[in-house]
């Protein structure tokens, strides 16, 4: 029996007064393995890692590293023991170079505190070569891609000579090609004897990469499995606690008339950057059009232009042959449902209760909410409306009087989606509607989107999740640098091809 590198013994984390984030957790991680920890959002993966890494104090239990009891109070102590972590949100100084970011905190200096570059530069260059990182020391962080930034984060840890790398959902920000690239690199690191802890909720990735998989649910360890001949279904069942249907039942699209069309949308932002350039699209009744793209390539501007949140330089937008590009937001809302990507700030008013959040927009458009005069809202009608919505969209809650902030993310989003879906049956615009939700809510919302489509709605779905686009969309657009660079039937393409267009591959070929 090999001694475990990291041994966790009945670890507990309780957030006062009574939230148990991690419960009696045992785990052994051996040297030189890629160990994935999977679980739904809120299963306690991050809390567990933060305890190992010294960011969060444990309530009870033991952590042993190389058979020695440790209790880190800061990440630096963990780094001294050879454990490093790449966070979901990168910890990099945007205006600094790659080199400066790597040495920050461990700067080699002369006696007077003057930074000595030579040796550090050599060490970093050697690492870059060894792992084929393809980075330049003098590039500014703000000018390199997200994937490159992630490489800098990994390099930062390698420069500090860590043996154990914890990666928290590292693939969330990457395209399929970049994910492949990352996996190759991680496998090389493992091959050289380093240990990798990989946190994820994406089953395909975990199955491809890991040697050992630990499943977490509600703060508890469900099981630890060797990754040979594991099936996705059994893993999902362990993770969610019930059977999960992966292939969403979707009949062939039954196309009707053109409901939505946009022609030559152009928008230049305040800094003069062309965020939308001649974007045209068309959606028929009964069709879901998916929009893919690396974040920041104009999808957000497209959505905001359609909803009326930003003024186009020129372009034409029509819903059912009616031009809407000059209408104000409220008038547009008569024609469309819109789920924003930002649940907390735009999608809802966090301090207001469920009833108040349910009737937003409806309160201006729906006469049934007022008895006497359109200006006076009826409370009883509003509550009735909210209760109906809560039932229909299975929002788990105690009463329509509790603030929406007291609900879980999934339930908040069900309410918001429900509110919007009750607004319009003809055109529905969704901006990352399932981001950060639990599997159950994702399933539910995706089914509702299909239902809407089958009832004849035209759906515009912007998503950073390629899996979601492939399972829902009938047709796909790829946006890059504000342009539509690819337009295809979903059935005729695959993720790799879409990924290439997302990276702008075709464009650089022609340049």
């Amino acid at each position: 029996m090999v001694e475990a590198l990291i041994e966790i013994d009945s670890l507990v984390k309780i957030y006062p007064p009574s939230t148990i984030a991690v419960k009696d957790f045992d785990l052994k991680i051996n040297t030189g393995e890629i160990h994935s920890v999977i679980g739904e959002n809120g299963a306690g993966k991050s809390t567990l890692m933060k305890m190992i890494y010294g960011l969060t104090e444990r309530s009870s239990g033991k952590i042993k590293i190389n058979n020695r009891d440790v209790k880190f109070t800061s990440p630096q102590q963990a780094v001294k023991y050879g454990i490093g972590m790449v966070h979901q949100e990168f910890m990099l100084i945007p205006s600094y170079t790659v080199f400066e970011n790597i040495i920050l905190g461990v700067e080699p200096t002369s006696k007077l505190g003057i930074i000595e570059k030579k040796e550090a530069e050599k060490k970093i260059k050697d690492l870059i070569k060894q792992y084929n990182f393809n980075l330049k020391l003098k590039s500014k962080i703000s000018e390199i891609s997200v994937a490159a930034q992630q490489k800098v984060e990994i390099l930062k840890l390698l420069y500090r000579d860590v043996d154990v790398l914890i990666l928290d959902e590292p693939t969330a920000v990457l395209t399929p090609q970049e994910i492949e690239d990352l996996f190759l690199r991680l496998k090389k690191l493992r091959y050289e004897g380093r240990t990798i802890i990989f946190i994820s909720h994406k089953l395909d990735e975990v199955l491809e990469l890991s040697d050992v998989i630990t499943v977490m649910r509600k703060g508890e360890k469900i099981t630890t499995l060797e990754n040979n001949n594991l099936g996705k279904a059994e893993l999902a069942k362990a993770m969610v606690g019930r059977d999960v249907i992966f292939s969403i039942d979707k009949t062939k699209a039954n196309l009707g008339d053109v409901i939505f069309s946009a022609v030559n949308l152009n928008y230049k932002d305040a800094n003069g950057i062309q965020q939308l350039e001649d974007v045209s699209l068309q959606i028929n009744s009964g069709e879901i059009l998916g929009v893919a793209g690396v974040e920041g390539n104009g999808q957000y501007e497209l959505v905001r232009a359609i909803s009326g949140l930003l003024d186009l330089d020129y372009g034409e937008i029509k819903i059912k042959n009616k031009n809407i590009e000059d209408l104000d937001i409220l008038k547009r809302r008569r024609e469309m449902a819109y789920v924003t990507q930002d649940r907390k700030f735009m999608g809802s008013a966090q301090d207001l209760n469920l009833m108040e959040n349910s009737i937003m927009t409806h309160h201006r458009l729906n006469d049934e909410l007022s008895y006497y005069h359109p200006v006076l809202l009826s409370k009883s009608a509003s509550i009735k409306f909210a209760d109906n919505l809560i039932n229909k969209f299975k929002v788990i809650s105690e009463s329509s009087k509790q603030p929406i902030s007291s609900l879980s993310g999934g339930n908040q989003q069900r309410l918001i989606v429900g509110r919007e879906f009750m607004l319009s049956d003809q055109f529905i615009m969704l901006d990352n509607p399932t981001r950060g939700l639990d599997v159950g809510s994702i399933e539910f919302i995706q089914e509702e989107i299909i239902n809407k489509r089958d009832k004849g709605a035209a759906v515009l779905l912007v998503s950073a999740d390629l899996d979601e686009l492939f399972s829902l969309a009938d047709r796909l657009l790829v946006m890059h640098s504000g342009k539509v660079v690819f337009n295809t039937d979903t059935a005729r393409t695959n993720k790799e091809e879409i990924g290439q267009y997302m990276l702008g591959a075709e464009m650089s070929d022609s340049a």
């Binding site: 800061s74 945007p94 600094y96 920050l104 905190g105 700067e107 003069g272």
Partner: protein, 307 residues
């Protein structure tokens, strides 16, 4: 000719307090602390310097007392803005008002005078006559015979540039200003970096105050900082915190300050001549922002050409 030499000499002299305060403020600028307390730090430094010099009979004690005064003000600022997380702007205002009130009150209590306190017992900073150069006509008059602190403050400007851009502290300081949580994540205590930045700004502003009351003039007057701390702030923003740039901007303001003095003897009422430095500040801000806008425009045009 004499008038020109006078004007240049007064330019140098008037530039020093602004230069020192703005060098101090540069540290807080890079730490992303909105420090408007240089005005108060200058004033406290000036008062403490007079106090120290008068009672000890030594300009050195006066200098040390002035710097300590600036640091004391900085400690108060640090305590509130960094550790108690109060609003930096409000804290700065409070500190400036406190400095004015406290120095005025103490002036009246300790020296029993109103307005200004002069005495032959206030020992001024010694002048430095540069050997050889001192003897050369005109050049000697232009370059030699200033209080020694003036030469040192020009040297400090170069050192600050080096400190901020070449050393470990500088790297960490600028990183703290940009994203303190990242700095914390690599094991540096960003609050400590911020505190150090404020203390440095207090020390340098205090030194500026010393120059004001023991070199520029040899006395203490109520509110004698008279907006120099604010001008220092404007200078920092104008030069985006480049210490060498500060040096030139401070000289420019020193020139307008001196010009204001020179114009006093003409037909222009003194109330107007006193406005000169502040009008110059507004004018500088205007040209700066106009230039910046044009630069952005040019960059954008370059970019669109490249595409």
């Amino acid at each position: 000719m004499n008038l020109m030499i006078e004007l240049i000499r007064s330019t140098f002299l008037a530039a020093v307090p602004i230069l020192l305060a703005s060098l101090g403020g540069t540290y807080t600028y890079y730490a992303d602390i909105f420090n408007i307390a240089m005005e108060g730090m200058l004033l406290i430094g000036a008062f403490a310097a007079v106090l120290g010099s008068y009672f000890s009979g030594s300009w050195l004690i006066g200098l040390l007392a002035g710097v300590s005064g600036g640091i004391l003000a900085a400690i108060i600022f640090t305590l509130f803005a960094v550790y108690l997380k109060t609003d930096e702007f409000v804290t700065g205002i409070a500190l400036n008002l406190f400095a004015l009130g406290a120095t005025t009150y103490l002036l009246r209590q300790i020296f029993s005078v109103k307005g200004a306190f002069t005495s032959s017992d206030i020992i001024a900073l010694p002048d430095w006559h540069i050997p050889i150069i001192d003897k050369i006509p005109i050049i000697g008059e232009l370059l030699s015979g200033y209080p020694f602190l003036l030469y040192i403050s020009f040297l400090i400007a170069i050192l600050v540039e080096f400190h901020i851009f070449k050393t470990r502290f500088g790297l960490r300081l600028r990183a703290t200003g940009e994203d303190d949580s990242t700095v914390d994540s690599v094991g540096i205590n960003s609050d400590l970096i911020k505190s150090k930045a404020i203390l440095l700004s207090g020390a340098l502003s205090g030194l500026g105050g010393v120059f004001l009351s023991l070199a520029y003039v040899n006395m203490f007057a109520e509110n004698m900082s008279n907006g120099r701390g604010w001008i220092a702030l404007a200078v920092i923003i104008l030069t985006r915190g480049r210490p060498i740039g500060l040096l030139f901007m401070a000289l420019l303001f020193g020139f307008f300050d001196g010009l204001g003095f020179a114009l006093q003897n003409t037909f222009i009422p003194s109330q107007f001549t006193q406005m000169v430095p502040y009008l110059a500040t507004l004018a500088a801000l205007y040209f700066y922002s106009k230039q910046k806008k044009e630069k952005i425009k040019e960059e954008l045009e370059d970019e669109s050409m490249a595409v």
